[in-house]
């Protein structure tokens, strides 16, 4: 495979891998997996005052998935939490040099983010109730 240099760099030194320390305020997480595609992804984001302060991820997958997850995590930081609901990164991944046939895998990233959103939404409902 001929990876773009951005994919290669993000894969070799992803900046937002891992989890936050336990007890960090405002944490939500979500994961998604597809055995047939051989992908698992988990996001953990810190949401304070409706804004995503920081994002972390863990991933089992190909270099594209790793790089795209890293990019998505970076992109999320500083945005409104609604960004989780519909990450809508697919078009951007192409800029990363991800070939079309790999985009299916990257939908899992959207799913994991959406799972974060659902958890956040649940928490907020709880708070409201």
């Amino acid at each position: 495979m001929d990876y773009s240099s951005e994919v290669e760099q993000r894969f070799l030194s992803p900046s937002r891998v891992g989890e936050f320390e336990k007890g960090t305020p405002g944490l939500v997480s979500g994961e998604a997996a597809d055995r047939t595609l051989n992908v698992w992804i988990r996001f953990q984001v810190q949401v304070l005052d409706g804004a995503i302060r920081a994002a972390r991820f863990s991933v089992y997958g190909c270099p594209y998935t790793v790089a795209a997850a890293d990019w998505a995590a970076e992109w999320l930081e500083g945005r409104s939490s609604t960004a989780l609901e519909e990450l809508g990164m697919l078009r951007r991944y192409k800029k990363l040099g991800v070939p079309v046939e790999k985009l299916g895998k990257l939908l899992l990233i959207e799913d994991a983010a959406a799972a974060c959103w659902r958890e956040l939404d649940g928490l907020e409902r709880q708070k409201r109730n």
Binding site: E8, F11, V17, R35, W40, S58, Y60, G61, P63
Partner: protein, 389 residues
């Protein structure tokens, strides 16, 4: 980022040995032996003489006589010739072919093409070590069996089949026996005549010879229909202008390819590599631990996605699955046949060492993998169990 490049993919192809390059160059330019070996003039006869020297170098290396070796474009063509040519020429004897599920695509795809034409094919299995039991071949042989085709050294795992035993079974039943020996030469000894082999496929480029030249061994008296027509070259089995420089390089490469001297060196490098990799938690070796060629090491790294491990080791040329299949995302049919899950098959790399592999290279690669595997596993920390089983 990439400091140096290390080549551990000798089973895909080998660089050409400097001594081989030298004889090839002698056959290329205006002042060299560059004439058509079929031409009757002086330079043609000189080229022809060199071709015949090469033929005998190759014959000697595989334990057959010179007049049974015919040049082709590589093992893929030889495999096709053997299967299609023998099935067609012996149609009066039957239309049943036996091969194994772990053969190279050049055999499997050809068998499928023959099936489409009405040949019945039995694909024998192997055990979890990748070994085909000779008794299974005996059991599969029927009255209408024409040919058995079993590879010698498997290109993905390095596992060695017991060709002598299978040859004996075929011989007893009067069935033709073809061996794909593309991976064997220079690594393990070949005694095709002693082993009652009727047909064999060879290639130069896995044994420090040039790509694009191979040979087929056709034992005396075996009927084979040619696949390519036109001209009388190669006893009519394989017309087309003989590629002098390629053949001469092939011959030289096989002259040099002495498993008695190369084998122990390869085994030492491979064992050093395995010792290093085996120190990594959870790693395991695929294929029979002892019945194997010294040049291939097929290793699974559970919990690490194969293409990610490959990119993490971008300056190390290794193969996920077989080289010929690298463009294809499907997990290896050989590994799955040996019982690996799709995920584990994808977490597997083939390392293959060669004449030019140094201890320092092995140590560097071991160090890199010892670093990268934990890093990639950490990246996936918390992943479900199926990613590693």
């Amino acid at each position: 980022m990439i400091k140096k490049e290390i080549y551990l993919d000798y089973a895909a192809t080998t660089p050409v040995d400097p001594a081989v390059i030298a004889v090839m160059i002698e056959c290329l330019g205006s002042s060299g032996d560059s004439a058509n070996p079929s031409s009757s003039h002086l330079p043609g006869r000189r080229a022809k003489a060199r071709v015949e020297v090469a033929r005998s170098q190759i014959a000697k290396r595989i334990g057959v006589s010179s007049d049974t070796v015919w040049f082709t474009s590589g093992a893929t063509e030889s495999d096709n010739m053997a299967l299609i040519g023998a099935m067609r020429a012996n149609a009066h004897r039957g239309r049943h072919l036996i091969t194994s599920v772990l053969e190279h695509k050049a055999i499997l795809d050809t068998a499928h093409a023959l099936e489409a034409e009405g040949t019945e094919v039995t694909y024998v299995n192997h055990d979890s070590d990748g070994i085909v039991d000779p008794d299974q071949i005996s059991e599969a042989i029927r009255d209408d069996t024409v040919l058995v085709s079993i590879m010698h050294v498997n290109n993905e795992t390095g596992v060695l089949q017991d060709i002598a035993a299978i040859g004996q079974r075929c011989h007893e039943c009067g069935v033709l026996f073809h061996v794909d020996a593309a991976q064997s030469t220079g690594k393990v000894a070949l005694k095709l005549e002693d082993w009652a082999v009727d047909l064999a496929s060879l290639t130069a480029h896995k044994t420090y010879g040039p790509m694009g030249i191979g040979a087929i061994y056709i034992s005396e008296g075996v009927s084979l229909d040619p696949m390519i027509h036109g001209g009388e070259q190669e006893g009519g089995f394989r017309p087309g202008t003989l590629a002098t420089h390629q053949i001469v390089g092939f011959g030289k490469a096989f002259e040099l390819a002495d498993p008695d001297s190369d084998g122990p060196l390869l085994a030492a490098r491979r064992d050093r590599l395995w010792t290093g990799l085996n120190a990594i938690e959870g790693v395991f070796l695929n294929g029979h631990p002892a019945q194997r060629s010294p040049h291939v090491l097929n290793v699974t790294f559970p919990g690490v996605e194969g293409s990610s491990l490959q990119l993490a080791l971008a300056n190390v040329a290794i193969s996920a699955g077989s080289a010929c299949n690298s463009d294809i995302p499907d997990p290896s049919h050989v590994l799955r046949g040996m019982g690996l899950s799709d995920v584990l098959a994808e977490s597997t790399l083939r390392f293959s060492v060669g004449r030019f592999t140094t201890e320092a290279e092995i140590d560097y690669v071991v160090g890199r993998i010892q670093d990268e595997v934990p890093r990639l596993r950490a990246l996936a920390s918390g992943a479900p169990a199926w990613t590693a089983s």
